[in-house]
Amino acid sequence: MKYFFKVMLAESWKQHRNYFSNKLIYVSLFLWPFLSFMASYYSYKVFDIEGSVVSYISGGNIMVFLLIGYMGMSFFRSVVQSAWHFSFERQSGTLEYIYLSPASRMAVILGNALSSVFEGSVAMAVFGALIILYNKESLSINVIGLVTVIPIFLCVALLWGAFLNACFLYSRDTDFLFTVLEEPMEIFSGVKVPVSIFPGWARVISCIFPLTYALEALRQVMLNSADISSVKNVVIISLVIILVLLSATLITIHIVEKHMRKTGNVILF
């Protein structure tokens, strides 16, 4: 177990040093979500929010609603990006040396996802500060609910990143997953628009993304003062997602290594 954590932390540290050595990365990490957030906020301005069918959205807290959405989105986006970054290890030939070592593949993959937690956490802190700074009176937080939901949110994000990471390793042609997963995640997870007002087909798609449940739980406990019993369904679904993602990641890692050893594609780039 000590070896597992040693590898995980080393991988996390390496990825951080490797991809976040340039401070400009933080600009793209905040600037793009912030511009997108502003565009969404002013789009809402032209509509009568008070008549919303969603109980916890009002004209007063729409900004907080969106900030929570973008806070979650930034976090999930950073884990998707770190998973995608890991596929560059194939091009640089370093993946071959990782597979040459006896290190746990799960530890390496989790370490890579963990590296994005730091960047995601900074983004979360900035968005969180904005929430408090501009609109704290519209927050209605259930502290116990929040303390319960945040670790679940972090676990879901980490495992989502780890699962995608394992998928990206399957072959050099899996980059399309990044396009398929990143933008639709923003659209269908309820970052800008509550999932409850989506048409049926869009709600089905939204079910695929763990961010959907994470955002719903966060908004309930932060805007609606919802206690654990009120969000228990979302919490249970999130826990199931954690188990499913963990199993799927372990299975995918096994399949990926078997496939690589059979086809020799670990050396193809």
Binding site: A10, R17, G93, T94, Y97, S101, A103
Partner: protein, 331 residues
């Protein structure tokens, strides 16, 4: 000792027929390779025409699963226990990839050391030792992207030694390096084998490098072993005749004819050619003494008499030409 028996690899590749259809095709990259590598030995794996040596190395390093055959490291079955084997081996490839350019030399070695679970104080000591051995101790804290090609390659060697492997696989380790750096690396490879008792398997396109470093050679062609032995065995196998260069003061066609007659009385198949003022003699028999005797009897003043030792490069080129033209028996 590494023991390889009947190693085989068949790849299944898809050949696209049209936009919707593709057909599976089987490619036998390695057909039946058996070899041995002892500790302290440097063995060369040479290939002709897409021979399958990279596939062989990747199988031996557990990165590719063989379709058939067995291989073991000090008695440990590598197919059944790849994780045990991974601790005993490492690989060093040529080129500038496979290290993290934004990290420093020290950080690269630290990261790879962590992948092997090396205890921190031991790792620190080992990194310092390795950086000293490869002459990078002064550059330890500089990002790799500021390194020259030779420095990156030296870092690769340190990385390949980080887990103190018993066996090292060197895949074109000096590709693209200048002569001075290459010479330094050769010294280091010899030191690893002779002083540290590492078993080293080397692949290289530079046959002079193989000639300089390797104690034993395996030559593969189209996935099959076509020869194994020492360099001397290979040149003897390919060049079955001895070649001599002989020149005397006043060499002319009359002397050549006399020499030819004299040598044919000893070996009927011997040949004497007049090339650039020298007699070039080929014969299955050992003729040095007979040529010298001829010069003495004819009262000739010898300028030059020596036996031509074919290089490994000449042997491999000749062998590959033989293979292309008629094929050769598997040694």
């Amino acid at each position: 000792m590494i023991e390889v028996n009947g190693l085989k690899k068949i790849y299944e590749v898809k050949r696209r027929q049209n936009f919707f259809c593709s057909e599976k095709e089987k490619i036998e990259a390695v057909k039946d390779i058996s070899m041995k590598l002892e500790k302290g030995q440097i063995v060369g794996l040479l290939g002709i025409n897409g021979a399958g040596k990279t596939t062989t190395i990747k199988m031996l390093t557990t990165l590719i699963e063989p379709t058939a055959g067995t291989y073991s490291f000090d008695g440990i079955d590598a197919i059944a226990h790849p994780d045990k084997v991974k601790r005993q081996i490492n690989m060093i490839a040529g080129g500038e990839r496979m290290i993290y350019w934004k990290l420093t030399a020290y950080e690269n070695l630290w990261y790879y050391g962590q992948l092997y679970g090396i205890e921190n104080s031991l790792l620190k000591k080992r990194i310092e030792e390795l950086l000293k051995i490869v002459g990078l101790e002064e550059k330890a804290n500089l990002p790799v992207e500021t390194f020259s090609k030779g420095m990156k390659q030296r870092l690769q060697i340190a990385r390949g030694m980080i887990n103190d492997p018993k066996y090292i696989f060197l895949d074109e380790p000096t590709i693209g390096l200048d002569a001075i750096v290459t010479q330094e690396l050769h010294k280091e490879i010899i030191r690893l084998a002779k002083e540290e008792e590492k078993g080293i398997l080397l692949t290289s396109h530079y046959l002079s490098e193989v000639e300089e470093l390797c104690d034993y050679i395996y030559l593969v062609n189209a996935g099959e072993l076509v020869f194994e032995g020492t360099k001397k065995n290979l040149t003897d196998y390919v060049f079955s005749k001895n070649r001599y260069v002989f020149s005397v003061k006043g060499m002319d066609e009359a002397i050549i004819i006399k020499l030819r007659d004299h040598l044919r009385s000893i070996d009927l198949e011997s040949e004497v050619m007049h090339e650039n003022g020298n007699a070039v003699i080929t014969s299955k028999a050992e003729l040095s003494a007979n040529i010298a005797e001829f010069a003495v009897n004819e009262s000739l003043i010898i300028n030059e008499l020596h036996k031509l030792e074919p290089s490994l490069e000449q042997a491999v080129i000749k062998l590959s030409k033989n293979i292309e033209s008629k094929g050769v028996d598997i040694a």
